[in-house]
Amino acid sequence: MQKLVLGLLLVLAPLLHAQAPPNQEVVLTASAGSKLGVALSQPRIAGVPEATVAKDYQEVLNRDLEEAGPFAVIRKDLPAATDPASYPAWAATGTEWLLTSAISRSDRGDLEVMIQVVDVVAAQAKNAKAVVSKLYTSKDGSRDGALRRIAHKISDDLMARLTGEQGVASTRIVFVREGGRGIKDIWQVDRDGANARPLTAFKSLTISPAVAADGRLAYVTYKGGAPEIWGQRVPGGPQVKLFPPSGKAEGHCFCPSWSPDGKRLALVQGDRRGNTDIVVLEMESGRVRRLTDSNCINTDPSWNPAGNQLAFTSDREGGPQVFLMGDDGSNVRRLTQEGTYNGSPAWSPMGSMIAYVSRFEGKFDLFVYKLGEGKSYQITTGLASSESPAWSPDEHRIVFTSGSRGGMQLYTTDLSGNTLRKLIDLDGCQSPKWTRSH
């Protein structure tokens, strides 16, 4: 860790290209009930409009930190000064970490944000430490949202510094949005509800998005009449048909799901009898392996993080229930035991939990099955129907759709169900997927 050289820091900011060393010690383990007070001082600005900084930096970073979980953002009665003599005044507001920023545009037009985080409580005890000292540069600094992205990155870095776990401020959610009768497209929105925009525009029915770890999309589209799997073969590449191969008469295809390494795509294929089976497509060879072959519905494949098991929904024992199986279709066992209609399984990113929905009295609620305990926990209880759960990359939250009939919106919740948040005020949303990729 760097020694704190206060006063000089802001002056020298452009010279300090200090990067936080890897594997930094974690300074505090957040525990329930005790949050770490963090405050932003007024940034020093050069060459960037003040209003832009207020909106795209201060507002964004404060909200990211607040929503990260273990931080309490101090906003009231903040001192103007940031020199060591002011630390007692900062500490009196409840601030523990004081974040100072210098925002400027370099000669080349790059956006530069130099931050210093000082533990103002420790500093008073003559134990001054710079908790974080880091320069953030955006080469595309002229582009809209560059400052927002830096603010998200800072929040994620502070989260990592505090808890040892990367935050999710820089993540985004890919989902389906209705654009008219029979018209749906794939959209995306940043985790904080900003930058909502369509990723497809086929003027057709386009649903069921999946996002690979490297950002490649896969989805179902009816734009050619029958449902086919479309998406990207390379990150950032053109959107092309992934399955079935042209000229081959195959059953209808639904519900793609990338394996964690992105090399395989599980999908659902209908047969001539109206049954649906889960198959796995190897992207490189184009080889297809059928995992289920029974006289029933099998759908909703969701991989475990190791990529050697899948959760899925099947009505093989009557109504829809969640089952598990190996990635070769072996060792099928039923997961959900209670309720007459369970579905939409989503295996958690670290592998120990499976979120799903259960229907009771005509509406769905979210549940989480903890594999270690062999028990289910109910997450939502409300008047609205809550559907299509998907995990945040850090496993702390679940994004889902909820709302009155026909007006489904995107929400996120923690596992206690206590901090329910509307992601964005947008009607007609479904099937969200949460990803770190950009």
Binding site: G182, S208, P227, V268, G274, N275, G343, G406
Partner: protein, 198 residues
Amino acid sequence: MRFVRNLIPLAVILTLGVGVACKKPAPAPAEPAQPAAMAPAPAPTDANAQQRADQEAARAKAEAEAEAARKAAAAAEMARANKFKSDAEAALKDINFEFDKSDIREVDKPKLQAIADFLKGNVQAKIQIAGNCDERGTVEYNLALGERRAHAAQNYLTGLGVTEARLSSISYGKEKPKVQSHDEESWLINRNCQFTLQ
């Protein structure tokens, strides 16, 4: 006096004008009628005129007859098309399902018989069967359930003797509800198979 004095220059101008006209070819715009009148247009003989008139009359008659035939054919075609359309409309009625079920209900079997009869009476007709679900299931499970409903109808029709090649199926799950309301009656309407001409 004054009149006579004024006449003299006019006469001079006229004289000069005629003199000029005789010396040079008159410019066309000055005498537009002259060249046409003088052009030796070959006067048609009576025989030629008669022949042309006959030809014209024959052609007009043929055209009128062809037009009448075309109109009659079009009318017949339209009548056939209208009958086909009204027969199709009468036959291609939705069938409905119980919640989470794909069994053909007894009440819907006569409707499927009518569809089979229509297809037998119109051998060129092909139909698509679209399976749909109400909004109360999950997106993905409903796509599979719609698939199963479409195939249930398809299998029933092939059982009535319709060849499989004339039937195609598709599932829209709960993605294209027929009605947007949210009550038991609407849900039943939305749990359906819809039949459309291809």
